[in-house]
């Protein structure tokens, strides 16, 4: 079990912790996220990243920040789970990439970039992964409509006479 007090001693008092059901969540300021994740990997045995995801808090009641980025960590040997969360804001949402720590986060970070436009600095190959390269919007942001803006029908038509 990783203790909050130990982490606070190392990384400062502005780390906080909460628990819901059996999920333990650690909220870390964006400036310290790389140091905290590196420390959690090296000294506390969290050797696997299960997933990285983001949440757009545009329409969420009482939200202070625009985006939350969530790292789901797992210690394979003990089975302990920890959710590390941080917040970033427009106009320049940026986080350090943790590709140097875990190779498995390659596509996860690319997906977050593709869907939300959050840039991971230091990622070796940060480009769109699910959407076409020509796409200009970030579809999972809350200000993007469900049906899109007409991109899905922006193609030439092949009629029977032409085929």
């Amino acid at each position: 079990m990783v203790e909050l007090s130990e982490l606070q001693k190392r990384y400062g008092e502005d780390l906080s912790e909460s628990t819901f059901r059996d999920n333990r969540r650690l909220v870390v300021p964006a400036a310290k996220i790389f140091d905290v994740l590196a420390g959690l990997k090296q000294d506390f045995g969290f050797d696997q990243v299960i997933d990285i995801t983001a949440i757009d808090y545009l329409e969420y009641p009482d939200a202070e920040h625009r985006f939350g980025v969530v790292y789901l960590l797992l210690s394979v040997s003990t089975g302990e789970r920890l959710i590390v969360k941080t917040f970033v804001d427009l106009p320049n949402p940026q986080l350090p990439s943790v590709y140097s720590l875990w190779k498995g986060v390659d596509w996860m970070e690319r997906e977050v970039y593709d869907m939300f436009g959050i840039v991971f600095t230091g990622h070796p190959d940060l480009r769109r992964i699910l959407m076409p390269d020509e796409f200009t919007s970030f579809p999972l942001r809350k200000d993007y409509p469900l049906q899109g803006r007409g991109e899905r029908h922006n193609f030439p038509v092949i009629t029977r006479a032409e085929s």
Binding site: G150, P156, E162, S163
Partner: protein, 218 residues
């Protein structure tokens, strides 16, 4: 023809004989993208056995096929691939749109999914269901066989000749627009379906309510 024929000789037109042969040896090209692809496999596999209808020779090269089975939803990134495969198939060719997603977009009314492949390529038979049962796909193959036997086969050029109106243009469209005070469309957009070149309209900035880019449906 007064000459008597032996009992095992039939008289027919060459067209009808060719259609009969074509309809009973369809070679499908499985364009299987999603769940319907598994049902397509089930149709071809042990229990349902599409070979009973002469359509079991799945060829994965479009140049050897004459029946495109679009099984599953087609999304923005995949549509150019679908169109290219359709163009690569030799004529005469037919298309079955299998499943709700391929026919109309189905439950996926989202930014990425094309709302029906018939907006962009011609379709002969629609199979509803999510996914359709193998029996339904077999029924569609039988329907298509009836269509080929009954309606005959048309090449694209023949189809164009039969459906294009001849004679002088009824009026000057640009003049009419000027009289009514309507905006005159860009020549390139108004004159043909296939002339919007890729890259002309940047994605994400172009909005089209109907999704139609001029031109007729196939």
């Amino acid at each position: 023809m007064a000459v008597g024929l032996p009992e095992n000789v039939f008289m027919t037109t060459l067209d009808a004989a060719a259609n009969w042969a074509r309809s009973n040896s369809l070679w499908p090209m499985p364009f299987a993208t999603a769940c319907c692809g598994i049902e397509l496999m089930a149709t071809a596999a042990s229990r349902h056995d599409m070979a009973r209808f002469g359509a079991e020779v799945m060829r994965f090269s479009p140049r050897q096929c004459d029946l495109l089975v679009v099984a599953g939803r087609v999304v923005m990134k995949m549509l150019p691939v679908l169109q290219r495969i359709w163009l690569q198939m030799p004529e005469p060719k037919w298309c079955i749109s299998m499943g709700a997603c391929a026919c109309t977009g189905g439950v996926f009314d989202t930014y990425a999914v094309v709302q029906g492949v018939d907006r962009f390529i011609p379709v002969d038979v629609y199979v509803p269901g999510c996914p359709p049962r193998p029996e339904q796909l077999l029924a569609a193959v039988i329907d298509l066989q009836d269509k080929i036997k009954g309606g005959g086969t048309l090449m694209g050029r023949e189809f164009a000749a039969e459906t294009t109106p001849r004679g002088p243009a009824p009026f000057d469209e640009a003049e009419l627009r000027r009289l009514r005070g309507l905006p005159i469309l860009n020549e390139r957009i108004s004159s043909g379906p296939n002339l919007i070149l890729p890259g002309d309209v940047p994605m994400g900035q172009y909005s089209d309510v109907t999704g139609r880019q001029g031109g007729i449906r196939g």
